[in-house]
């Protein structure tokens, strides 16, 4: 597992800078490439300008465009609809489950634990 083989990249969509930084750090430590977006709209802009990431780590409660809106927008787009999305959110279990109906492949409740996060990322990258 060399660095070169692991560059998907992993797209992290999270508005809280501390959370984003820590997610980025642990994913980088495992040798993945990382791209970041601070809200749904930035993520959409990134996706339209770049090749698809191997997986997206997505927060739900964000300003400008939240995670549910982004999921809905991706669902309607043939190219983006195939990107696996791992939701990482502090929302209640009920709210997390609404993301699943919008196509999220995994739901992780904050605070997310390292093993669970890396396991989810590894599945797709």
């Amino acid at each position: 597992m060399t660095d070169a083989t692991r560059c998907g990249p992993v797209l992290i969509v999270e508005d809280d800078p501390d959370v984003r930084e820590s997610l980025r750090g642990v994913v980088l430590d495992e040798g993945y490439c990382v791209a970041e977006a601070g809200d749904g709209r930035q993520a959409l802009e990134y996706l339209r300008a770049h090749a698809n990431p191997c997986v997206m780590i997505l927060d739900l409660m964000m300003p400008v465009m939240d995670g549910w809106q982004l999921l809905a927008a991706m669902k309607d787009d043939a190219a983006l609809g195939r990107i696996p999305v791992v939701v990482v959110s502090a929302s209640s279990v009920d709210k997390l489950q609404t993301a699943q109906t919008l196509g999220a492949v995994a739901l992780l409740r904050k605070p997310v634990h390292l093993d669970a996060l890396l396991e989810a990322v590894e599945r797709f990258c």
Binding site: D16, D18, V19, E21, S22, L23, G25, V26, D29, M61, V88, A90, S91, S92, D94, R109, K110, P111, V112, H113, L114, D115, L117
Partner: protein
């Protein structure tokens, strides 16, 4: 045979008997007549019959009397009628008159029986009051049916209009912020006379009775609408309204509203009094809705706060947990001195953060359990396996306390439960045993029958006084002081809620100074369906 002494018998009758001849002169009156009409014994004899009739009745009487004598056509003879009679002192009273004509030796006589109706009128009045009391009692039950403002105001006015015979009833509620009165409900004539009611009243300046009642906090009750300028209105005359009651709705001396009702007949004092009582009932129902709404809002606010706080705390916990776990992983791969000194500190930090995480989860659980917003997710699994997992999670704590934890279970116990909730139940009981167990041995015992399982966690710790044993399952209740033992006092409350949701029961047996045994009994194959009326409750 002696002739019968009829006159003695008639003299002794309680009912009044009076007789007059063809000239209209009284020829006989028994003592009951004298008593009823206030004459001295014997004085009526020889008087014209018209002396016992009010002036206004006399022409009709004389005309009828003449007609009968000349034509034999009788209108009253042989019938009973309700008429006013005149007493000697000029007062009138209602009597029932039964008139007969007889031919006797001396010629034709007219005999009348007079029955005092006052008692009957009193009886009818009492029956009327009884009817209203019954209606007000029914209304009290209806008022209490729902703790909603709109329900209370509408029951108040419809009761007045439908059961208490008001022609029109209106209720104004006081807006606590502005002090003004807002018309909140009307019943009866209100549709036709809506224009006459002001929707919003400022009691300080409103010149009419509703304003005065709101200012003085005293009821206005009247049977005399005529002559009062306020009531000299076309619709009041047209509808023949005779009485009005305007009641302040008071609670603890504070005005909550004003209730007004118009009636088509005059009201007895007892009915005015009953209306006052009805007003007090309505006021207290209004107060109940206010307190209920306030309590609901406070609970909602608190739960929203708990939800928000839980959410807010989870976000900064994320980088903390990830960084610590990542550090521990890196240090674990490393070697020598750094690893030896750093590793235990990291382990302590990771344990502390997972403790914070479980406190945060529990906080949200309080809100969700309270709202009944959690759903059971039943699945079939081996309880022995789950028990092992939970015990393993507590190994580090058991070791650091230096106590022993013995687990006694059958080989496997497969059943249907909510895995996450049951995990939390076992974890709560284990945490408590470790916390209050004074580092002495703890026993965890699982037993199963075909349809139920019994889990007992026994410690040899400080124990719980008999008086506190029920209380420990209540929210925010703890048997020990918060200074010595930390915690929120939520664990056992949540445990009880989850166990009950799965159709089971949790109990405690304890001796202070010797230890406690918490026992959870659960149905093995999921909760029984509860009948709609809850009849199944407690059967298990």
């Amino acid at each position: 045979m002696q002739p019968f002494e009829w006159s003695k018998i008639i003299d002794a009758l309680g009912d009044a008997v009076i007789a007059a001849d063809r000239d209209g002169s009284i020829v006989y009156a028994n003592p009951a007549v004298d008593r009823l009409l206030g004459w001295a014994p014997g004085d009526l004899v020889g008087q014209p019959l018209i002396v016992i009739m009010p002036e206004r009745m006399r022409p009709a009487h004389e005309e009828g009397f003449r007609r009968y004598l000349s034509t034999g056509v009788a209108r009253l003879i042989g019938r009973s009628v309700r008429v006013p009679a005149l007493r000697k002192d000029g007062a009138e009273l209602d009597i029932e008159l039964t008139l007969t004509a007889q031919r006797v030796e001396q010629g034709q006589v007219f005999v009348a029986m007079l029955r005092d109706l006052r008692e009957r009128v009193e009886l009818e009045r009492q029956l009327g009051v009884t009817k209203y009391v019954a209606a007000a009692t029914r209304a009290a039950a209806r008022l209490a049916e729902r703790l909603e403002l709109q329900h209370v105001v509408s029951v108040a006015v419809t009761t007045l209009a439908q059961d208490l015979d008001a022609a029109l009833a209106r209720l104004w509620l006081r807006d606590p912020a502005s002090g003004s009165l807002e018309l909140s409900a009307s019943a009866g004539l209100s549709d036709q006379v809506e224009g006459s009611a002001r929707r919003r009243i400022d009691p300080a300046t409103y010149p009419y009775k509703v304003g005065a009642v709101a200012r003085t906090l005293r009821p206005f009750l009247s049977n005399e609408l005529v002559g009062d300028d306020e009531f000299e209105q076309e619709w009041i005359r047209r509808e023949g309204l005779k009485a009005v009651a305007v009641l302040p709705l008071l609670c603890g001396g504070e005005l909550r509203g004003v209730l007004a009702a118009f009636f088509r007949r005059r009201l007895a004092d007892e009915l005015f009094e009953l209306l006052g009582t009805f007003g007090a009932l309505v006021a207290s129902a209004l107060e109940n809705t206010r307190l209920y709404t306030q309590a609901q809002e406070a609970i909602k606010e608190r739960d929203e706060f708990l939800s928000m706080a839980s959410h807010e705390l989870r976000t900064p916990l994320t980088p903390l947990v990830l960084s610590l776990e990542s550090l521990r992983r890196v240090v674990g791969r490393g070697d020598g001195v750094a690893s030896e000194t750093v590793q235990p500190k990291l382990t302590a930090a990771v344990r502390a953060t997972s403790h914070i995480e479980s406190l945060v989860s529990r906080m949200l659980d309080v809100a969700r359990v309270h709202e009944g917003r959690y759903e059971l997710r039943l699945e079939t699994f081996n309880l022995v396996g789950l028990l092992g997992e939970v015990v393993d999670r507590h190994r580090a704590q058991v070791e650091s306390l230096g106590c022993t934890l013995l687990v006694h279970t059958p080989e496997a116990v497969v059943g249907t439960w909510d895995r996450l909730r049951l995990d939390q139940v076992i974890a709560n009981l284990l945490s408590n045993a470790l916390k209050y167990g004074r580092a002495r041995p703890i026993d965890v015992r699982l037993a199963a029958s075909d349809d139920q399982v019994t889990l007992t966690v026994t410690d040899r710790g400080i124990g719980i006084a008999a008086g506190d044993q029920e209380r420990v399952f209540d929210r925010f209740e703890r048997a020990v002081s918060g200074d010595k033992y930390g915690g929120l006092g939520l664990g056992l409350w949540i445990t009880r809620k989850f166990v009950e949701a799965m159709g089971g029961a949790v109990s405690v047996a304890s001796t202070p100074g010797e230890g406690s045994a918490f026992t959870v009994v659960l149905p093995r194959h999921g909760p029984r369906p509860v009948a709609p009326d809850g009849a199944e409750r407690g059967v298990a």
